[in-house]
């Protein structure tokens, strides 16, 4: 097994489009690292540079302690899984998994040992003689994973491997990939646009936008302490709410509402000279409360709003509302039975909220 190191990596395409820049990252040995971001953020390009399928314009890439910029992809000791989990249609499962090893002229007995082991790990022992068309979508995806496992590589690279699966199967395969990683402990770099997939699978997340790293951290760190407005809005579902207002004395003012800022946060804001200035308040939907007990104890962060839409999700209700012309979402307990059209008291848990600079959109801390 090995870690990876990317130092000042930059990718510029022939048409001068900069796809990735200032990319510095240490991927630890045995880590499951997820690159996440919207379409066009450079995450797949980064993965393909690690694979050697794209040249690195500037910077250095190390696998273990070996610089591999100029090493051919086949010699980098990596295995890849892509979105299209197509298989060779005329080969059975065994041959599909064995094919890349046969191409490398590996001995038959070694191939058999590796394929049998991978089939055992993935529960495919009884399907080895079947052709792909006789397999379900989930089984096909497992064979695609098996084709990577047999390589016995130092690093797994996965590019949106679950995107072509339906929602139910995706959740199932997510768990299977996690179990696989726990068992094999192979360093894995996984690319996805799906923040739920990223949050649930990653040891660490790398959030990207416009070719730049926005934040690196554990899912908990990134969720609880987003570096900027983009990360706060991208990670979490429903996304973090943002209110543009200004700081006046001890209060954050948005529209007609005055929300008391806790002492610690106030101290930080004042120390950086934000008193009387515009700031962005970011608060997660679950940190907006409608329980009477919470509201009673939080009179200074209470607001009055009208519910535009109330979506019952079972144990909770998603409320869509606005203050000062700015929309927000609250995720509240279903037991209070809030309905659309009702005026309602809500209280913000400001201890969990964040303030961001109105110009740079960076978190103030």
């Amino acid at each position: 097994m090995a870690g990876l190191s990317l130092k000042n990596v930059k990718k510029v395409y022939e048409n001068d489009v900069v796809s990735v820049q200032d990319f510095n990252l240490e991927v630890r040995d045995k880590e499951f690292l997820v690159l996440v971001g919207p379409s066009g953020c450079g995450k797949s390009t980064t993965l393909r540079m690690i694979a050697g399928l794209e040249d690195i314009t500037e910077g250095d890439l190390y696998i273990g302690d070996k610089r591999v910029n100029d090493i051919a992809p086949k010699d980098r000791d990596i295995a890849m899984v892509f979105q299209n989990y197509a298989l060779y249609p005329h080969m059975n499962v065994y041959d599909n998994m064995a094919f890349s090893l046969k191409l490398r002229k590996m001995k038959k007995q070694e191939i058999k040992t590796r394929v049998d082991r991978a089939a055992g790990i993935l529960g495919l022992e009884n399907y080895l003689s079947r052709k792909p068309k006789a397999l379900s979508g989930g089984q096909r995806q497992r064979v695609a994973l098996g084709r990577a496992i047999v390589r016995d590589a130092e690093v797994f690279l996965m590019d949106e491997p679950l995107s072509n699966l339906d929602a139910k199967l995706r959740v199932q395969m997510r768990a299977e990939i996690q179990k696989l990683h726990q068992r094999l402990q192979t360093t894995t770099v996984y690319v996805t646009h799906d923040q739920t997939e990223a949050m649930t699978m990653a040891t660490r997340l790398v959030v990207m936008k416009d070719g730049l790293i926005q934040q690196v951290g554990s899912p908990k760190e990134v969720y609880e302490k987003p570096n900027n407005v983009f990360v706060g809005g991208f990670i979490g579902s429903p996304p973090m709410n943002f209110f543009l207002g200004h700081l006046q004395g001890e209060h954050f003012i948005v529209g007609d509402e005055k929300i008391r800022v806790p002492e610690g946060k106030l101290k930080t804001l004042r120390a950086q000279d934000y008193d009387g200035k515009d700031v962005i308040l970011g608060i997660r939907p679950e940190d907006i409360h409608d329980e009477p007990l919470f509201i009673d104890s939080s009179a200074d962060t209470k607001i009055r709003a009208t519910v535009d839409v109330a979506e019952l999700m079972g144990a909770e209700i998603i409320l869509y509302s606005s203050i000062g012309g700015q929309n927000f979402i609250a995720r509240v307990d279903a037991r209070y039975g809030t309905e659309a059209g009702q005026p309602i008291d809500l209280a913000f848990d400001l201890s969990k909220a964040h303030f961001f600079d109105a110009a740079s959109e960076l978190r103030i801390h």
């Binding site: 048409n15 393909r48 197509a86 060779y88 005329h90 799906d194």
Partner: protein
């Protein structure tokens, strides 16, 4: 002859009898019909020997698979306007050419053909232009194997660690002017891959790119700015347009691909329509916006002079 040659060159091997692969430490030669292919270890060959053997045998580069009789006929057809005569002619329609290319020094042609063959039921025909590019001849009945070129790209990328691109020409119902069709497919592929990062494309996919590339730099910039207006640098909107076109203007499907709620996408389209007066939900208006998007992307690029369609087909 073989026995006599073997007395002179004890290392001589016959392909298919003594060995199943073309070892790169050997020099390989075949007779005209490829009925016999023999290899002699390089250590036994002085330049004079190679010249002598080449006088009555055909030298063969071990990196390339041995061409079949049918491949040779197609090679002849794309290099000249003449097709092989009479009953020997195995060239038939309907067919299409699919151009492919991959990066240098990543895989040998022998390896590539062996892997690609596994995706097709019938024997594939490949006409090599160089070690990194060539044409796959597809007979219509052999093409229907349920695996798209997009899938083939991912499959071979994970097996062979090589980035491959495919460009398929339209199916042809006749074998007339094969050489012109060949040049059109190849030239178009090279041109369109300079503007698109898609790994698998068809001629129909390429047409808008070709039209835009044929316009002057000034016209491209004008179209981009006039149609897209304030959205010209709005990456999200440009992506939305691209996805809508790809999804046949189907709002639900596009919203799903963009990970947006259907209503959010409708709202964005309404906003675009309010600001530009263009409703992307209408086919002809969407087409104009899509061309403007391509024009914007190619806007700053200088294209080399030359007519893409010089060979017709």
């Amino acid at each position: 002859m073989i026995d006599r040659l073997r007395k002179i060159y004890p290392s001589l091997l016959l392909y298919g009898e003594d060995i199943d692969t073309l070892d790169s430490d050997y020099k390989w030669f075949s007779d005209e019909e490829n009925t016999r292919v023999l290899g002699i270890h390089e250590s036994e060959l002085a330049p004079k020997d190679i010249a002598l053997l080449s006088a009555f045998l055909l030298p063969h580069n071990a990196k390339f698979p041995l061409p079949t009789k049918e491949e040779k006929q197609w090679q002849q057809a794309i290099r000249s306007a003449e097709t092989p005569p009479g009953s020997e002619n195995r060239i038939s329609a309907p067919f299409r050419f699919t151009y492919f290319s991959f990066n240098k020094n990543q895989i040998t042609p022998v390896f590539f053909k062996a892997a690609l063959q596994e995706l097709f039921e019938k024997q594939i025909l490949i006409l090599w232009d160089s070690e990194t590019e060539g044409i796959l001849v597809e007979k219509k009945e052999a093409a229907d194997d349920g695996v798209s070129y997009g899938q083939i790209v991912d499959l071979l990328m994970s097996d062979l660690y090589v980035k491959i691109r495919f460009f398929s020409g339209p199916f042809r119902q006749s074998t007339e002017a094969v050489h012109a069709y060949y040049r059109t497919v190849k030239n178009t592929a090279v041109k369109v891959f300079a503007h698109s990062d898609k790994a698998a494309m068809t001629y129909a996919d390429a047409v808008p790119h070709l039209m835009v590339a044929a316009a002057s730099k000034e016209l491209r910039q004008e179209i981009g700015q006039t149609v897209l207006q304030e959205y010209i640098s709005d990456r999200e909107t440009l992506e939305m347009i691209e996805v809508l076109v790809r999804c046949n203007l189907n709002i639900s499907e596009s919203a799903k691909e963009l990970h947006l709620h259907r209503n959010s996408l409708q709202y964005r389209l309404d906003r675009f329509s309010e600001k530009t007066g263009i409703d992307i939900r209408q086919f002809h208006q969407a087409m104009a916006v899509y061309l403007a998007l391509l024009a914007k992307r190619q806007g700053g690029q200088q294209h080399p002079p030359g007519n893409l369609h010089e060979d017709g087909g």
